[in-house]
């Protein structure tokens, strides 16, 4: 059985069947399709013309003017602070929830899973229009001033989806682990906090770090919810782009978008490396990696 398989495989590979050739072409075309607009943005970021749509000449003028535009720099700063804050909140909430869901799933566990699923599938526009009146109610009508601060609103709004993603990543990692080490620590009279910091946390560290990085990039990209909850003065980068759509798009936007794309790719590469080094959890294997990276 194994002999025939090992003999027949190289033979099959050498002779490419028409069906396989067609699939190869289809796959390559699909990849080209997926990269097409991204390449367009990167190319047009080197456009020296006044508007983004008309390519006039090649140059890095757009990068220089983007860096010197206080509104753009401010938007990037707001986005980065929001992303960092979202990563912290989502990682804290998601890690504890992921641990609780695998270690002590009580009567509440199925309900919580359904809620997390709902948070993830609700269209962004519905989350956006429900958070706006709620923040106004809390901040203006009931006088909780914290909810009038743009940065606070943005972090809360972005952390909902992100914490659901972190929960599922941590839960996947915890499912592959048994509990004997934690029990051993308990038998040796380690208090709960020491048990958590010395045993549980090091074991799930890859999931926690990659979850935090994914939360960071998710928040960096969020447009719809952010554009509804943000207040004047704290406009995050995607909302700035969305607002300039109505006026006119300048090459500055493509330039800064290209830089942000590079940042996102670096963060994702780090997340992928951390997930790949993790040999035991669900993170092993390309399929598992995908599920974790998509966050679904």
């Amino acid at each position: 059985m194994t002999d025939t398989a090992s003999v027949s495989k190289p033979v099959r590979r050498r002779r490419i069947r028409p069906g396989d050739a067609l699939l190869n072409v289809w796959g390559m075309l699909g990849l080209l399709f997926l990269f097409f607009p991204i390449v367009v943005i990167v190319v047009f970021s080197f456009n020296t013309g006044r508007t983004l749509q008309m390519f006039e000449g090649f140059g890095v003028d757009a990068y220089v003017s983007a860096m010197n535009n206080p509104a753009i720099v401010n938007a990037i700063t707001v986005s980065l602070i929001t992303a960092a804050g979202t990563a912290v909140v989502a990682t804290l909430l998601g890690t504890f929830a992921g641990i609780a869901l695998t270690r002590r799933p009580g009567w509440w566990a199925p309900g919580l899973l359904v809620l997390l699923g709902l948070v993830m599938v609700t269209p962004e526009i519905v989350s956006a229009i429900s958070l706006l009146p709620w923040f106004v109610t809390l901040g203006v009508d009931w006088g909780f001033d914290a909810f009038n601060i743009g940065q606070v609103r943005l972090i809360i709004a972005n952390s909902l989806f992100a914490s659901a993603v972190v929960t599922f990543i941590v839960r996947a990692r915890m499912t592959g682990m048994n509990e004997f080490l934690e029990e051993a620590a308990a038998d040796l009279y380690a208090p709960p906090f020491r048990r958590f910091t010395d045993i549980t946390l090091p074991l799930i560290r890859p999931a926690v770090i990659s979850g935090a990085l994914l939360a960071f990039t998710l928040s960096l990209d969020n447009t719809v919810v952010s554009s509804f909850v943000s207040v004047a003065g704290s406009t995050p980068w995607p909302v700035y782009i969305f607002a300039s759509l109505k006026a006119s798009l300048r090459p500055d936007i493509a330039a800064m978008s290209t830089l942000m794309l590079v940042l996102t790719l670096i963060v994702l590469a780090v997340a992928a490396l951390i997930l790949r080094r993790d040999p035991t959890g669900e993170g092993g294997g390309a399929a598992g990696l995908t599920s974790a990276m998509v966050g679904r």
């Binding site: 069906g19 190869n24 796959g27 699909g30 990849l31 399709f33 997926l34 097409f36 607009p37 991204i38 390449v39 367009v40 943005i41 749509q53 909430l93 641990i99 609780a100 869901l101 270690r103 002590r104 509440w108 809620l115 997390l116 948070v119 269209p123 962004e124 526009i125 519905v126 989350s127 229009i129 429900s130 009146p133 709620w134 109610t137 952390s159 909902l160 914490s163 048994n178 509990e179 080490l181 029990e183 090091p202 990039t217 990209d221 719809v224 969305f242 759509l245 978008s257 942000m260 794309l261 996102t264 790719l265 994702l268 993790d278 035991t280 390309a286 399929a287 995908t290 998509v294 679904r296």
Partner: protein, 319 residues
């Protein structure tokens, strides 16, 4: 650390372990409390407020909502012919988009999971994840630049004499259709890939050993086993597509607008939160209603398919 974990599996002591379990229990069940409170405060209560507003009305020009008189009038108003026609267009774009995504994604996922050499799989997967993680809005703007009548695609087509005049695709529902297929394609490829990658090659070999042709193996083994991926992919594409707000705003113009924009407009320009809330509730009902109907239909189709194959298999054995 991880090697320790694998090694540490002694047979648990009879009396000690339950005691340890009891000691471990108390602090950890609390871990789910913060996220539950967070979801209650910033997901359930806000949506509850929207449902509450949907029974109210807009009392004056400068007031967004009032709830002193409750009625279902906003729902009647929301289901107006104007809303209904945009709703039908949205549904059409979403269903067409989901089907086209499936048609493009299935061969791609099959190619990646079955045909591609394992060393290339990771690279192609990364190439699909990069567009997925690139800013949604920025990718859509890439299409806006490409599709504009004075854009480079239009000029190239005219130069090659493939079109008579400038390209008139931007700000139509065709542009939105293209945009949504593009934007949601990775969400269809990834679950299909995961399902097809987990498919055991031994099953395909078994089917061939039993005399199945390439096509019968594909229909009776590959397709049924990829159904979880198909269902997941369709859900992941259809649900966000129905509520999409960015793609039609960037590419749609007046003739390609979708429900998400109508809801947004009630909260932004029109400042009629009561009507906007009713529209949002209707949108959610439509999304979950359609998903449930399609899910049930897929289940029925799946059951029929299984019944058909199980009827066929013993027949083949006899022949």
């Amino acid at each position: 650390m991880t090697t320790l974990e694998g090694r540490a599996a002694p047979t648990p002591g009879t009396a000690d372990v339950p005691a340890a379990r009891r000691r471990l229990r108390a602090p950890k069940g609390l871990g789910a409390l913060p996220i539950s409170v967070w979801i209650l405060l910033f997901f359930i209560l806000p949506f509850g407020l929207v449902v509450w507003y949907s029974f109210g009305y807009k009392p004056g020009l400068y007031v967004t909502h009032a709830n002193d008189v409750l009625s279902l009038d906003r729902y009647g108003q929301a289901a107006s012919p104007a809303f209904f026609s945009i709703f039908v267009r949205t549904l059409k774009i979403a269903v067409t988009g989901t089907v086209i995504c499936l048609a493009i994604a299935f061969p791609m996922a099959y190619w990646m999971a079955v045909k591609l050499a394992p060393k290339w799989r990771g690279i192609v997967l990364a190439l699909i994840l990069i567009p997925y993680w690139t800013n949604f809005l920025v990718r859509t703007i890439g299409w806006q630049i490409s599709l504009s009548p004075e854009g480079f695609v239009s000029k190239t087509l005219q130069w090659a004499h493939l079109t008579d005049g400038p390209l008139h695709v931007l700000y139509t529902s065709a542009a939105v259709q293209l945009g949504v297929v593009y934007n949601y394609l990775p969400l269809m490829i990834l679950p299909l890939y995961v399902a097809l990658e987990r498919l055991d090659p031994k099953l395909l070999e078994a089917s061939r050993d039993l005399g199945g042709t390439v096509w019968s193996t594909f229909w009776h083994v590959t397709i049924p086993l990829s159904m979880p991926g198909v269902t997941a992919g369709m859900l992941l594409v259809f649900v966000p597509l129905m509520g999409d707000y960015i793609t039609p705003t960037v590419l749609g113009g007046a003739s390609g607008s979708m429900v998400g924009q109508m809801v947004a407009a009630q909260f932004q320009s029109a400042q009629n939160w009561a009507l906007g809330s009713a529209m949002a509730v209707l949108l959610m009902l439509a999304i979950f209603g359609t998903s449930a109907v399609v899910g049930a239909a897929l289940k029925v189709v799946g059951a029929i398919a299984t019944a058909a194959t199980s009827l066929k298999l013993p027949l083949k054995e006899n022949a």
